[in-house]
């Protein structure tokens, strides 16, 4: 056998520890640098005016009010459509059936859907909603496309949440004579709600930041959207256009900062909820 050069285990341990520490620092510093740059350049741009005025001159001047409104509309539609579908799927998978070929197909479908890149969702939304159903570039097309995109996330998190509800809860409910549906709606869902909400908020964050799926379905009109069928530009699309076409770097940084702060807030709320959820379920 070939003799291999070997360090003494203790020396090796020290070396590895140093190397790992170094690599971790690099990774963390890069990520923090990104956040710092956005906030440092973006925060000075943010003012009440920036948040409440519509963009003017292609975004060179004015604020980002209409893009904030568009982002809200789109995410609300996405969540309104995706949450019932996702939670319903999770309820079916966990409470109404046994593991078998059907659940395997459903899970496989959700998994595959989760792996599809957002640009494909964009293409699909463009053909189905914009062209075939004639919704045009609109809030409705964009919202529905996003709904399909976040559906797997909501299914997965809701399923986990429902699964973690102790079986004893259900048994007690059944022994009191409740039907399955009563048990689900009055015992299981309330108890699983923090976990379900976590998934919904996670999807909210993802829809706020999405660009590729939205730009071909909601379009990029800058005016304030007036109906479900009007085209609109979300914050992330606005930021992309400002940056890529070099329209205004200060405005781009400002928009990016609003976007990042919004998503961080959303994620912090999620994290807080998840923490609460975990401490509660570990106590039980």
């Amino acid at each position: 056998m070939k003799k291999r050069f070997r360090l003494k285990p203790k020396v090796e341990q020290k070396a590895v520890q140093f190397l790992l520490c170094l690599m971790t620092s690099i990774a963390v510093l890069i990520l923090i640098f990104i956040l710092a740059v956005i906030l440092k350049n973006g925060l000075p741009e943010i003012s009440l005016e920036f948040l409440t005025k519509n963009p003017a001159h292609m975004g060179r001047e004015g604020g980002i009010f209409s893009t904030i409104v568009a982002t809200l509309y789109l995410t609300v539609i996405a969540l309104l459509v995706a949450t019932p579908l996702g939670v319903g799927t999770a309820i079916y998978l966990t409470e109404y059936t046994f593991e078998g070929i059907v659940t395997r197909i459903i899970r496989f479908g959700a998994e595959c859907l989760a792996g599809i890149p957002s640009i494909i969702f964009g293409l699909f939304g463009f053909i189905l909603f914009v062209n075939k159903l004639k919704f045009g570039w609109s809030i409705l097309s964009g919202g529905l496309t996003l709904a399909f995109m976040v559906l797997p996330t909501i299914i997965r998190t809701s399923e986990e949440a429902i699964k973690s509800v102790p079986a004893a809860y259900r048994l007690v409910s059944y022994s009191l004579g409740s039907t399955r549906w009563q048990t689900v709606t009055r015992v299981v869902l309330p108890s699983a709600s923090p976990g379900i909400i976590t998934g919904v908020i996670l999807s909210l964050g993802r829809s706020i930041g999405e660009t590729a799926a939205v730009i071909f379905t909601a379009g990029s009109a800058l005016h304030l959207p007036s109906s479900l069928f009007s085209s609109a530009r979300t914050m992330s699309v606005h930021f992309y256009i400002l940056a890529r076409e070099g329209i205004s770097m200060p405005k781009a940084y400002g928009t990016a900062a609003v976007l990042v702060i919004a998503i961080l807030l959303v994620n912090i709320v999620t994290y807080y909820l998840m923490g609460k959820y975990i401490t509660r379920s570990s106590r039980e």
Binding site: P9, K10, E12, Q13, V16, Q17, L20, C21, M23, T24, A27, V28, L31, I32, I34, V37, G88, T89, Y92, L93, Y96, T97, V102, I106, F108, G109, C112, G115, I116, P117, S118, I119, I120, F121, G122, L123, F124, I127, L128, L151, T179, R180, W181, R206, G209, E210, T211, A212, F216, F239, Y240, A243, A252, A256, L259, V260, L264, V266, N267, Y271
Partner: protein, 293 residues
């Protein structure tokens, strides 16, 4: 009897509920099927018309001259994804190992949420910062325009870091402490324990994290467009510009029509198939590891 009646009524409504839930539960599957049908319906005819071989192996993408070779974009997508993994996987795994096994508790308690929060930063932001800082840096240090395979790989590598780190941390933490105690009791050092006991035990989770990162890298569009230069040629070096399948779609979709638009859907078909194959292979690998255990 009134009671029996009530139960019968409940049973009836329960069945109705079950059927409606089943319909809802097939929503994800139906969406998947519809997406597949639509993308293939739009993209396949033109691939058949000009020949599958010309599409997949053709090196020239000149839509105005009806030349739709996708090879440069296929190579481009695979290259930047590989590059992203080369950068993201070692850094990500190292961070996960350090934070779970070598750092003190307080540090990892603080850093894990921070890293997870950063996973939410939209990809356009990564692309923008790449354009502002990384591209000029590469231009000055290595020459060329800076818009390159290298820039795209680094940006994607950084972008997938939070995903890889947080999933790896979870799967390393899931390894029971008794494994570590057993190994340490046998006289192994911490690192030997990690290398020979913890990592093999956490393997399927680690692979899953890497797969997810890979999926994110190959599917990413906006960040790549901003830093990759987007020339539709097979890149000759790390400093050459590159166009991926995703950016090919996003760059031209806004103004494409007729056969050109169909060719973009064909690009979508190729991307779709590549991703399904990669997912399948990766899942297979993960499952095999799991079974061996």
């Amino acid at each position: 009897m009134a009671g029996g009646n009530m139960i019968a009524r409940h049973e009836g409504s329960d069945r109705l509920i079950k059927i409606s839930l089943l319909v809802v539960a097939f929503s994800a599957v139906s969406v998947l099927v519809i997406i597949t049908i639509f993308i293939f319906e739009q993209g396949l005819p033109i691939m058949m018309k000009y020949g599958l071989k010309n599409f997949l192996l053709g090196q020239n993408w000149f839509p105005s001259e009806k030349s739709f070779g996708l090879l440069p974009m296929i190579v481009g997508s695979l290259l930047v994804t590989l590059g992203a993994l080369v950068i993201g996987v070692p850094l990500g795994l190292a961070s996960a190992i350090f934070l779970t096994e070598f750092s003190n508790r307080r540090v990892s308690r603080f850093l894990k949420p921070v890293i997870e929060l950063l996973a939410g930063i939209p990809s356009v932001v990564y692309g923008f910062l790449g354009l502002m800082f990384l591209v000029p840096f590469i231009r000055e240090k290595f020459g060329g325009s800076g818009l390159s395979v290298l820039a795209a790989s680094i940006i994607l590598g950084i972008m997938i870091l939070p995903t890889i780190i947080s999933i790896s941390i979870d799967s390393i933490r899931a390894v029971p402490d008794s494994y570590r105690e057993g190994s340490i009791a046998l006289g192994a050092t911490r690192w030997q324990t990690v290398r020979m006991v913890v990592l093999p035990a956490a393997r399927s989770g680690l692979v899953a994290g890497i797969i997810l990162g890979m999926g994110r890298a190959i599917g990413e569009t906006m960040a790549v467009i901003m830093v990759a230069g987007n020339a539709a040629d097979i890149p000759g070096s790390l400093l050459a510009p590159v166009r991926t399948l995703t950016s090919n779609i996003a760059l031209e979709m806004a103004y494409a029509s007729g056969e050109h638009r169909e060719a973009l859907f064909a690009t979508g078909v190729v991307l779709f198939v590549i991703i399904m194959i990669l997912n399948f292979l990766a899942n297979l690998a993960a499952r095999k590891q799991y079974r061996k255990k």
